[in-house]
Amino acid sequence: MAHATTVQIREEKFIFSDKAKRLAFILMGAGLLLALIGYFTYHPQVEGFTDEQNHHLPIKRLLASILFNGYFFFIIATCAAVFLAISQVANAGWYVAIRRIPEAMSSFMPIGAIVVFGVVFLSLVVFHGGIYHWGHDGVMEADPLLAKKTWYLNKPFFLIRLAVFTAFWTWCATMIRKYSQNEDQIGGLTNFDKTFKLSAAFLVVFGFTFSMFAWDITMSVDAHWYSTIFTIYNFATGWVSALTVIYLITWYLRSNGYLDGIASDEHMHDLGKFMFAFSVFWTYMWTAQFLLIWYANIPEEVAYYKPRMFGSYKFFFYINIVLNFVVPFFIFMRRGAKRSRQVGVFVGTCILIGHWNDVFLMVMPGAMNLAAAVTGDNPTGIIETPSQGIGLMEIGFLGVFAGLFLYITLNALSKANLYPTKHPFLKESILHDTGV
C-alpha cells in the first residue's frame, strides 16, 4: 500500500564460485574416502552369527548406504519438481522469486534416478538379492507368504517399472525447466500455459506412480510387511526435505548478496511456514501409521516396529521424532524464527538430518537382515541383524551425494538467470507481503 509498486527487474546471474565448487568436491572426495575406509575396515562379528553370515554383512551395508542416501536425495529433487508443479497448478504467485532454486534442484533427478536404479540392479541381479530379502534365490518359492507376491515382486517387472517411472518424472522436470527458461527469452504466456498443462499431467501420474515407487524401493525391503499409508509418509519425508533445501539455498544466496530486492524475509517466512506445516503433516502421517499398528497389535504388522522401537534401533526411532517434529514445531512457531538466518539454518539442518535418519530407519533394519531357510521355528526366513549404528559408510555416502547434489544444483543455478524475469507473477512475488 505504501505504493512500492516500482520494482527493478534486471538480469542477475549466480556465479558458482571456486570456493563453493571446492567444497562440493571435498564433500564428494572425503565422503568416498570415508565410505571406502568404512567398507574395508568393517569386519562385523555379530554374536551368534557364523563366519559366513558375518561375511554377507559388509556388501549389504554398502549397498544399503548407497540406496538410502541416493533415494533421499532423489526424492528431494523429485519433490522440488512437484513443488514447481503444485505451485503452477495452484496459480501461486509468491514463490516466483525463488522459482529457479527448485528448478535447479530438480536437475539432480537424472543422476539420482541412475543411482537408485543402479543400486537396485546391483542388488537384485548382480548380488542376487543384496538388500532385498525377496530377491534372494529361492526365497520367493520357499516362503509361503512371499510366494503369493511373485506377481508383483519379480525382478524384471520391478526394474522395468522403476526405469519407466523415474524416466517419466525426469522428463517432466526437464520440460518444466525448459519452458521456464524459454519464458526468459520470449516472455508472454505461452510457456506459462504449457507449464500449467504439463504440471497437471505430471501431478496425476506422479500421484499414482510414486505409490508404487515407494512400495518398491523402501517398503519391499521388509517384504513381509505392508502399510497402505507408506507412500504418503514417504512423500511427506521428501517434501519437507525439499522445502528445507529450498529454504537453506535461498538463505545461502541471500547472504551472498544475491536476489537483493527480489526475495525478502517475506519469502523466508512463507517457506518457513511451509516447513513448519509440513513437519506437522509428516508427524500426522507418522502417527497414523504408528498408532494404528501399535493399537491393533497384529503380529505381522508390529514386526516392523519391534526392532525399531525396542531393539537396537531405539535411539534412531526416538531421535526421529525429536528432530522432525519437536524441533521445527516449537522453534518455528515463532514469527521471528522463520525470518532469522541463524535460527532458520539450525532448524533446517535438524530437519534434514532428521529426515535422513528417517530414510535410514526405513531401509537399514530390513536391508541388513539375513535370509535363512523357512522352518517351523523361523517361519519368516529372516535372521535379524542388530543395528550396526551409523558408521563411516552411511556418513561417507551422505557426503558423496550431498556434494554431488550441491554441485549439480548450484551449477544448474548458474546457468540461467537467478529468477524468471518474464514470469507473469514475478512482480507479485517481489512485492509479496505475508501480512503478519
Binding site: 507376491k149 516472455g187 505392508y226 511456514k273 506437522v280 498408532l291 499398528i293 497384529i298 512485492l431 503478519v436
Partner: protein, 468 residues
C-alpha cells in the same frame, strides 16, 4: 493492498463499490422473505418433521426399529454420522486452509461453508445420540467417574476420542464462525432500527471498526485458522480410527486417516457446490460467487476425488500385495459380493465422474456442476456404506454371515436429517449475511488507483512479449 498480477481474473465482478457490497449482501436480511425462500423453508420444515417423527419413534421403540442384526450392528446410523461429519469439513477447510494458502477466492464462500459445517455437525451429532439408543444417558462417554462411581471412561477407545474431537470441532468452528461474523453483524446493526438494532447490537459486542481492534482481530483470525487446519485433519482422522483401530479386514488399514480426510473435503466441497450453485442465483450473488469460484471449486472436487480414488486403488492393491487372504476376501467381496452395486456406485461417483471436470465446459456449466455435486454426495454416502456394511456382513465365522436391509425408519431419519440441515441453512440465509462483507470489501480494487495501475502492468507484459 498487496499487488495482483493483471492476468488474474477479478474475484468480484460488476464494478462493485463498498456500498454496493453492503446493499447486495444484506438484501435478503433487510427485506421481507421472498417467495422462493418461503417455499424452500416450508419444504425443509416438512422434511424436518419427518426427522422428528422417525427419531422419536426410534427413542420410543429402541434400536429395534432399525434393520440391525447381530452381525451388522452398525450400519445406517454410523454411515450417516460419518457422511455428515464429512460434509462438515469443507467449511473450516475453506476458511482455514485456504486462508493459510492465501487463496483469496475463499472470501465470498467461506461464510456459507462455515455455516454448513456447523449445521452438518449438528446433524452428525444427532446420529450419535440416536444410535446410542438411550439418549438420556448420553453423558456417559464424558470422562466423569462412571455413573459417578469410581470407574472412568476407557481412554483407549476411539469412541471416547470421537467425543472430544467432535465437540472440540463443533465449538471451535462455532467460535471461528462467530468471530468472522462480528464485523458484519455490526454492519447490520448500523443500518437497522428498533428491535432488529437491539438484537444485532447485542451480538455485535460493541464492534467499532478501529484499527487497533482490526489488528488484534487479524491476529486471532490467523491463529484460529492455524489451529483449525490440524483440527479438521484430526477430526476425520479420529472418526476413521473408529474403524481402523479394529481388527476387521477392510477397516484396519493405515491409510484410513488421510483417506477419510480427503473424502471429507471431497464431499464437503460437493455440498458447498450444491448450495452455492443455487444460492448465488436465488440470492443474486453472481458477482460475488463468480464462475471463477465455481471453476476453482470444481478443480478441488476433481483433485480430492482423484485422491480418494487413489486411496481406493491403494487399498485394493495393498490387499492383493499383502498376501493376507482375509484382506483379499474383504476387497473382492466389496467389488463382487452381494453389495457389489454399492461399491460400483461409489467408484463411479467418486473416482470416475469427477474426471469430467478436466473439461472447461463441465467447470463452467452451472446446471451440470449442480448435477455433479449431487452425484458426489451420493457417492460419498455410499463410500461409508460400503466400508461399514460390506466389512461387517461377512463375519469371521461363516455361520454368522448375513445381510443388512434398512427399515423405513432408518430411511426416514436419513432423509429427515436433510430437513434439519436445510431448515437451519434457510434460517441462516435470512438472518445473517451469507457472504463475509468485510473480507470481500478488502479485495475489491480501490476505485481511484485501480485503472491506471492495470494499464501500467499490461505494458510490462507486452514489452516482455515483444522481446523475442
Amino acid at each position: 493492498m498487496s499487488y495482483e498480477s493483471p492476468i488474474r481474473e477479478p474475484l468480484v465482478t460488476g464494478g462493485k463499490t463498498y456500498a454496493d457490497v453492503t446493499r447486495d449482501i444484506l438484501r435478503p436480511l433487510e427485506n421481507n422473505a421472498s417467495k422462493s425462500w418461503w417455499i424452500g423453508f416450508s419444504v425443509s420444515a416438512v422434511v424436518l418433521a419427518i426427522w422428528i417423527a422417525a427419531t422419536t419413534w426410534t427413542m420410543l421403540e429402541g434400536i429395534g426399529a432399525w434393520g440391525l442384526n447381530k452381525t451388522v450392528g452398525w450400519a445406517f446410523d454410523i454411515t450417516n454420522f460419518v457422511f455428515w461429519v464429512g460434509i462438515g469439513h469443507a467449511g473450516t477447510l475453506i476458511s482455514a486452509v485456504l486462508l493459510l494458502f492465501r487463496q483469496k477466492w475463499r472470501m465470498s464462500i467461506n461464510r456459507s461453508a462455515e455455516a454448513m459445517t456447523i449445521f452438518a455437525v449438528i446433524c452428525a451429532a444427532s446420529f450419535i445420540l440416536s444410535h446410542m439408543g438411550r439418549p438420556w444417558v448420553a453423558y456417559w462417554p464424558i470422562p466423569l467417574p462412571n455413573a459417578f462411581g469410581t470407574l472412568w471412561v476407557n481412554f483407549n477407545s476411539p469412541l471416547v476420542w470421537d467425543v472430544f474431537a467432535i465437540s472440540t470441532y463443533f465449538s471451535v468452528s462455532l467460535v471461528f464462525w462467530y468471530i468472522g461474523l462480528i464485523p458484519d453483524i455490526a454492519t447490520v446493526r448500523d443500518r437497522a432500527e428498533g428491535l432488529r438494532k437491539f438484537i444485532y447490537n447485542f451480538f455485535s459486542m460493541g464492534w467499532n471498526g478501529s484499527t487497533r481492534t482490526w489488528h488484534r482481530y487479524e491476529m486471532i483470525s490467523l491463529i484460529l485458522a492455524g489451529i483449525s487446519t490440524p483440527l479438521v485433519l484430526s477430526v476425520h482422522s479420529i472418526v476413521s480410527m473408529d474403524f481402523a483401530t479394529s481388527l476387521v479386514p477392510g477397516w484396519h488399514t493405515t491409510i484410513f486417516p488421510p483417506y477419510f480426510v480427503a473424502g471429507a473435503i471431497f464431499s464437503g466441497f460437493g455440498m458447498v457446490l450444491t448450495l452455492l450453485v443455487i444460492g448465488r442465483v436465488v440470492l443474486k450473488q453472481e458477482n460475488y460467487i463468480t464462475m471463477g469460484h465455481l471453476d476453482a471449486m470444481c478443480r478441488i472436487v476433481m483433485l480430492t476425488g482423484t485422491m480418494v480414488g487413489l486411496a481406493y486403488i491403494t487399498e485394493f492393491f495393498v490387499a492383493a500385495y499383502s498376501g493376507v487372504e482375509y484382506e483379499q476376501y474383504a476387497f473382492i467381496n466389496r467389488a463382487s459380493g452381494p453389495y457389489w452395486w454399492s461399491y460400483w456406485i461409489m467408484m463411479t461417483c467418486n473416482l470416475i465422474a469427477p474426471q469430467v471436470f478436466w473439461t472447461k465446459w463441465a467447470r463452467s456449466t452451472p446446471w451440470f456442476i449442480f448435477l455433479m455435486s449431487i452425484i458426489v454426495n451420493i457417492g460419498m454416502w455410499f463410500e461409508r456404506f460400503v466400508i461399514i456394511v460390506t466389512s461387517l456382513h461377512r463375519d469371521f465365522i461363516p455361520s454368522s454371515w448375513t445381510m443388512y436391509t434398512p427399515t423405513i425408519t432408518e430411511f426416514a431419519i436419513l432423509i429427515g436429517s436433510f430437513g434439519l440441515f436445510f431448515t437451519l441453512y434457510f434460517l441462516f440465509c435470512k438472518y445473517l449475511p451469507t457472504i463475509n462483507m468485510a473480507e470481500v470489501k478488502s479485495i475489491i480494487p480501490t476505485h481511484a488507483h485501480d485503472e491506471h495501475h492495470q494499464e501500467a502492468d499490461h505494458s510490462t507484459i507486452e514489452k516482455g512479449a515483444a522481446h523475442g
